[in-house]
Structure formats: structure tokens, C-alpha cells
């Protein structure tokens, strides 16, 4: 490192230049000045190409996800918190306790360093709240006009407790289907922010770490048969994927699926189906019927699980899995979303 090191934010710290991705002094300054303080990295830890982790014998969960979102900061979160929580939630869905993350940044030339600092700080806060460390990373810069400000890729590893085996293969007829809260907030919040749709009151993203509630379920001896975080494609897509993989038929009671009035209203206006709208802090859990009540109690004790509800059950084994929703006049078959949901015309 050359020159004096100043950890304090300064009023005008400029914008990302091509050299910030060059691997030289500018890159080092960005890492040491913006990322390390934000992530709370131990000052004694030597900077290196990779991190060395000590793990006890056991099974690791390993996942990666890339984050591109417009706008970068939205009601209820930003791309930084999203990049940490999204990967943490993927680990939690394996039943794993998240240990460490990596963070790769693709920055656009001209991006304000002040905004990057806000995003990094948000990542640090999200990681600290979950108790996960961001231990290694990378930064590249692309020409102005070749990126949307910042893209972030995170990868994460987590430790899976010995007795836990979560996945579609464990789903059984008779299992009940729980969701951890009301659906569709993230997708509606992003669409409202992106398109300047002013809903009153504004819809905030549900962005939240699901790891604490999953850990508590497992500690309480409730082994969920299957967990899935309801991101792109929403509840309906997750249910169809699980039913297909598990070769079961699901019966969902439409009136039991929680959707807030704000999201329902916005969805009605835009012609969207909230069951297909993205979430970033909601999970669906398949548990044995006997575990339904205690599992709901645990979910509801968490701030982000207060709206947890039982929405249906695994009605039968079925060679070709499918999801049926009970409606006014009969049964409706849920399908995977094709492409992206587009607002209706009239």
C-alpha cells in the first residue's frame, strides 16, 4: 500500500475509474478503503487471493448467486443487502448454518464511490446480522455504458448439521405446506421503484435472512422435509418445482395464502398474480403434519415470520407431480411461469 491510509469517508470521493479494476494501487485502495471497513474484516488478516477456513468434519453446503437489480437501492433494501441475504438464504434452504461468503463486484466506470460505500456498508450490516463473514472477493471495472452501476456475485458455504437431510426426496403424502409470511412484496417494490409507480402506502421489499428461523426449527427437533426460498417465480413456481421433483400432488387452499392488501391492490392494478411475484425473505416449508403447529409457532416468533401460515398439504403421491389450488368453482392447476410476468394492457 502506498501513501497515507484514510479510513474516513470524505465529502467528494469521486467515481469509479477503469484503474479501480486494474489490480494495482487504485484497486487496493478501493478494497482497503471501501470494502474491508464495511465488511468488518479483521485488520490482522492478511489479504490474499483466497481465504483459508477451518471446518470440522461434516457436510458443507455451497452455493452461488449473481445479483443484478434496477434500481440499486429500493424500498426495504439495496443490491448489497440482497447479495448477502440471497446467498445466506440459499444456504439456509439446505439446512446449513452459513459460515463464509465471497463477494465479486463488477463496477461500471463512472459509478459514484459514495454509493458504492453505502452498498458495501449495507452488505457489512447484513452479514453481521446473520453472523456470516465475507472473507474473499474480487473487483473488476467495465467501460461506462457496459454495466448498470454495479453487479455483485456472492458465493457461500455453510455447515449442515449431521442429522439434517432437506430436499424434495424427503417430501411425503400427508406433509403440510407452510409459508413464512405474506407474498409478493419484493417484486412489487422493485417494479414500483423501477417504473415510478407511487403506491400509498409504499410497498417495501420483504428482504430478510431466513437462516435464524431455519436454525431454530432444526434446533427444536423439527426437521423440515423440504425448504425453498420464494425468489423469482414466486410461490407458484417453487411449489410446481417441488411437486415435480418429489412426484407428489399438492392441494393449496387459495384463501389461506397470505398476501397483503397493498400487494393485492398493486397486483390487481398491474394484472400480476402475486403467487408468481418474487420475494426475498420468504420460504415455503414442507413438514410432517404433527410438526405443523410447533413449526408455525417458531416461524411466527421471528419478526420476518410473523405472518406465517399453513396453506395446503401433500395430497398424494403422483408420478407426474402437480399443484392444484382450490378456487370458487373448482380446481386450478398451477404452472411454471413462462418468461416474465408482464403487466396487462387494460
Amino acid at each position: 500500500m502506498s501513501g497515507p491510509f484514510c479510513p474516513l469517508p470524505v465529502a467528494d470521493e469521486g467515481v469509479i475509474e477503469r484503474g479501480h479494476g486494474g489490480g494495482g494501487a487504485l484497486t487496493a485502495r478501493l478494497v482497503e478503503d471501501v470494502f474491508l471497513p464495511a465488511f468488518g474484516a479483521a485488520p490482522s488478516a492478511p489479504l490474499h487471493d483466497g481465504a483459508t477456513l477451518v471446518v470440522a468434519g461434516g457436510r458443507l453446503a455451497f452455493t452461488t448467486d449473481s445479483f443484478v437489480v434496477t434500481p440499486l437501492e429500493f424500498p426495504g433494501g439495496d443490491i448489497g443487502a440482497l447479495a448477502v441475504i440471497g446467498t445466506v438464504n440459499d444456504l439456509a434452504m439446505c439446512g446449513a448454518r452459513p459460515l463464509s461468503l465471497s463477494a465479486g463486484f463488477i463496477l461500471e466506470e463512472g459509478f459514484a464511490i459514495a454509493q458504492l460505500r453505502r452498498i458495501a456498508a449495507s452488505m457489512g450490516r447484513a452479514a453481521a446480522a446473520v453472523g456470516v463473514d465475507i472473507v474473499t472477493g474480487d473487483t473488476k471495472v467495465v467501460e461506462r455504458g457496459k454495466g448498470d452501476g454495479v453487479y455483485i456475485t456472492t458465493a457461500g458455504i455453510g455447515l449442515i448439521p449431521a442429522e439434517v437431510a432437506i430436499g424434495p426426496a424427503a417430501v411425503r403424502p400427508g406433509d403440510v405446506v407452510l409459508v413464512s409470511g405474506d407474498l409478493g412484496r419484493h417484486g412489487i417494490a422493485i417494479m414500483a421503484a423501477r417504473e415510478g409507480l407511487g403506491f400509498e402506502p409504499p410497498v417495501e421489499s420483504d428482504l430478510a435472512s431466513l437462516a435464524p428461523m431455519v436454525a431454530e426449527l432444526i434446533e427444536a427437533g423439527i426437521a423440515p422435509h423440504c425448504l425453498r426460498d420464494l425468489t423469482r417465480g414466486g410461490l407458484a413456481s417453487a411449489l410446481v418445482e417441488i411437486a415435480t421433483a418429489a412426484e407428489v400432488e399438492l392441494r393449496i387452499e387459495a384463501s389461506a395464502v397470505p398476501v397483503s392488501d397493498a400487494v393485492r391492490g398493486a397486483s390487481e392494478l398491474l394484472g400480476l398474480d402475486p403467487w408468481y411475484v418474487a420475494n426475498e425473505g420468504r420460504l415455503v416449508a414442507f413438514v410432517a403434519a404433527a410438526d405443523a403447529a410447533p413449526a408455525l409457532d417458531i416461524l411466527r416468533r421471528h419478526r420476518d415470520g410473523a405472518g406465517a401460515a399453513m396453506i395446503g398439504r401433500v395430497s398424494a403421491a403422483a408420478g407426474r407431480g402437480r399443484v392444484l389450488a382450490e378456487t370458487i368453482g373448482g380446481l386450478r392447476v398451477l404452472d411454471l411461469m413462462s418468461g416474465e410476468q408482464l403487466p396487462r394492457i387494460c
Binding site: 417504473e195 409507480l197 392488501d261 393485492r264 391492490g265 390487481e268 398491474l270 394484472g271 402437480r322 392444484l324 378456487t327 370458487i328 368453482g329 373448482g330 380446481l331 386450478r332 392447476v333 404452472d335 413462462s338 418468461g339 408482464l342 403487466p343 396487462r344 394492457i345 387494460c346
Partner: protein
């Protein structure tokens, strides 16, 4: 949620279905005009609550579906014109013309934007005076007033880089054309509630009287739809053919006068070719001569290849209510929402998409 929950009340819906069963003595065929109603009927399973004597046919009220391939090809040609930014509603971008879709053009580098309102396109034009912003204006009497307002605002603000490619269509001429067809099977209509919210219901009276069909203005929720169907069946059973408003919480006599005034000022009726139905006189809206400078056809004279001969898609017969989506050999196999052969499989309001989404695996 007010104005929603009471119209999705299962008990109220069952009572109405019971009233319909009690009232029907012989077979009747009713068409709901609007694609939004088609989707609601299938999504909530309303069609499954009706007695066997009642046949529902799905009408041409899907703006994306009825837009002729030739206009889509004009839009694609415009989007490929240097300096042009082409805007339209989401669904319209996916519909195939003869020369691919607008989303395909976007992927090849054309500047194609999805907007929620023509006013968003106007805002884009004001923010980018160096671009020519064209709004591909599709839709019925519901969306046309917003297109008219955008033109009036552009005129008032002196914005000269904004224009419309109008594909707007009108409902009453299409109903008259369906009824005038020699093989027409429709005995009663559910008129589209939102169209009547704008236009009122007066223009349906001459049609009801000339063709002796009941026309019931109907809303979109389960209870609305069942009320509309019941009212239509009661008229049929009693041998009446009147215009009746069963969506009074939204549709007022005379409709929305301000919206109609904007339409009359900016647009004039024009012949329009409907996908599957051919050209219908005075069934479209084109820019009035006084606003010709906002007409993208006048401004750019987009050349589009003549539409390719029709493939296996049966959407023409489906839009006229002659065939059900499920009888099409391509339905759910060669033709899916991911790989649509025709517009009725693309749109959120298309009949094929509704059957694919709600009925495919239940059958």
C-alpha cells in the same frame, strides 16, 4: 379488501350459480367479449359452475390478439429505424408478426421499451429530444383515451419527436361483425365492463335491437361474471333483447365524457384489419387529419413485408368463438406460452393462454 373480497365471495358465487341452474330450461350460447373476463372465468373455475346447457364462447376482446401481423411488422420495421425508440405495453412486445416479435428486435439491438402508459413514452420523448419516440398504440376504448391525452399533451408542450403507430380498435363494430356472420352461434353477449366505463352503454342499443340479442355490461370478478351470465340467461329465457348494466359500480350512463372528448378530438374511425376476422369498416381509430404530424405512419412510412401465409395457428377461429383452444392440434404441444404460434397463446388476455394456464393438466 374493499370492492374485491365481496365480489370473490364463494357463498355469493354459489348462490348465483344455483339461481342460474334454476332458471335455465334449454341450451344457450353466450359470448364474453373481453379476454380479461375469459381469464377470470377460467382462473376461478366459474365455467365449471354452470349447467351443461350454457355454453360460453370466448370473444375477440384481447387487444394484443386481434392486432394484425402486418401492423406488428410495421412496428418492428420502425424499431429498426436508426434514431427511433419504440415503446409499447408488455404483452405486445412478445407477439409474433411475420418478421418475429418486438422482443426479438430488441435482442438484435433495436431500442424497444416496455411502458405502462403512453404518457411514459411521452416523458421519454421529452427526456431524449435527440430520439424519435414512437408509441405503438394498441388496445380498445380502454387504452385509446390515454393515447389521445398523450398526443394532446405533446401538442401543448410542443414536443415534436413523439408519434403514435395506432392499432386502436373499437368493440361495437366487432360485435356487429360477429353477429352478421352467416354461421353466428352467439345468442347473448357479456359486454366488457371497462370499455363501457369509458364509452357508456348507449352504442350497444342499436346492436341489441338490430340482431335481437341481449347485451349485458359485466364486470370481472366471479360474482360480477355470474351476475352478468344470470341476467343474460334471464333475458334469453324471457325472449328479451336489451342492453342491461350489471357493472353499475363502475359503468355510469354516458360513460366518461372527458375521455370520449379526447378520443373525438384526436382520432377518427378508420377501417381496421383484425387478426382472424379480416377488415371491419370503422372498427379502428387513426389520428385525425389535424394531428397527422403525430402519426408514425405519415412520419416514417414504415415498410413492412406482407404477412406470411397463416401457419397451423387456429387463432382466427378461436377469436371468433368458433373453436375452443383445446381442439387445436398444436395446443400445449407445438404451441405453448414459451413458443407461441399465435397471439392468443401470448397475451395475458388470450383464450389459449388462459386454457394453457388454468386447464391443461386438469383435463
Amino acid at each position: 379488501m374493499k370492492y374485491l373480497d365481496e365480489y370473490r365471495d364463494p357463498a355469493a358465487a354459489r348462490r348465483l350459480a344455483g339461481a342460474i341452474r334454476a332458471r335455465v330450461t334449454r341450451p344457450w350460447t353466450i359470448m364474453e367479449i373481453c379476454g380479461g373476463q375469459t381469464h377470470s372465468l377460467l382462473r376461478h373455475g366459474i365455467d365449471q359452475m354452470l349447467p351443461e346447457q350454457v355454453t360460453l364462447l370466448h370473444g375477440p376482446g384481447c387487444p394484443v390478439c386481434v392486432t394484425d401481423a402486418e401492423i406488428i411488422d410495421q412496428a418492428i420495421a420502425l424499431a429498426a429505424t436508426p434514431g427511433v425508440t419504440l415503446c409499447s405495453f408488455g404483452d405486445m412486445l412478445r407477439v409474433p408478426g411475420a418478421a418475429g416479435s418486438l422482443l426479438g428486435a430488441k435482442a438484435r439491438g433495436a431500442d424497444v421499451r416496455m411502458v405502462y402508459s403512453p404518457l411514459d413514452a411521452l416523458a421519454l420523448a421529452r427526456a431524449h429530444p435527440e430520439r424519435e419516440v414512437v408509441f405503438f398504440a394498441v388496445g380498445f376504448e380502454t387504452t385509446a383515451p390515454a393515447s389521445a391525452i398523450a398526443v394532446l399533451q405533446a401538442e401543448a408542450a410542443g414536443v415534436d419527436n413523439f408519434s403514435l403507430l395506432s392499432a386502436h380498435v373499437l368493440v361495437p363494430p366487432a360485435i356487429a361483425a360477429l353477429l352478421a356472420a352467416p354461421d353466428n352461434a352467439v345468442q347473448g353477449f357479456l359486454a366488457a365492463g371497462h370499455v363501457c366505463t369509458v364509452m357508456g352503454d348507449d352504442e350497444y342499443r342499436p346492436i341489441a335491437s338490430r340482431f335481437q340479442v341481449p347485451i349485458v355490461v359485466t364486470g370481472f370478478e366471479p360474482v360480477d361474471l355470474l351476475q352478468g351470465i344470470l341476467a343474460c340467461l334471464v333475458q334469453l329465457e324471457e325472449g328479451r333483447a336489451e342492453v342491461e348494466n350489471r357493472y353499475a359500480r363502475s359503468v355510469h350512463p354516458g360513460g366518461n365524457a372527458a375521455a370520449q372528448a379526447a378520443l373525438r378530438r384526436v382520432f377518427v374511425p378508420a377501417p381496421r384489419t383484425w387478426r382472424g376476422m379480416g377488415e371491419i369498416a370503422a372498427s379502428g381509430l387513426d389520428l385525425a387529419p389535424a394531428y397527422a404530424r403525430f402519426d408514425a405512419r405519415t412520419r416514417f412510412r414504415p415498410a413492412a413485408p406482407k404477412a406470411a401465409p397463416a401457419g397451423p395457428c387456429l387463432s382466427g377461429d378461436i377469436l371468433r368463438g368458433r373453436l375452443r383452444p383445446t381442439v387445436c392440434p398444436a395446443f400445449g404441444t407445438a404451441c405453448t406460452p414459451e413458443h407461441p404460434l399465435g397471439a392468443t397463446m401470448v397475451s395475458a388476455e388470450g383464450a389459449c393462454a388462459a386454457y394453457y394456464r388454468y386447464r391443461r393438466a386438469a383435463a
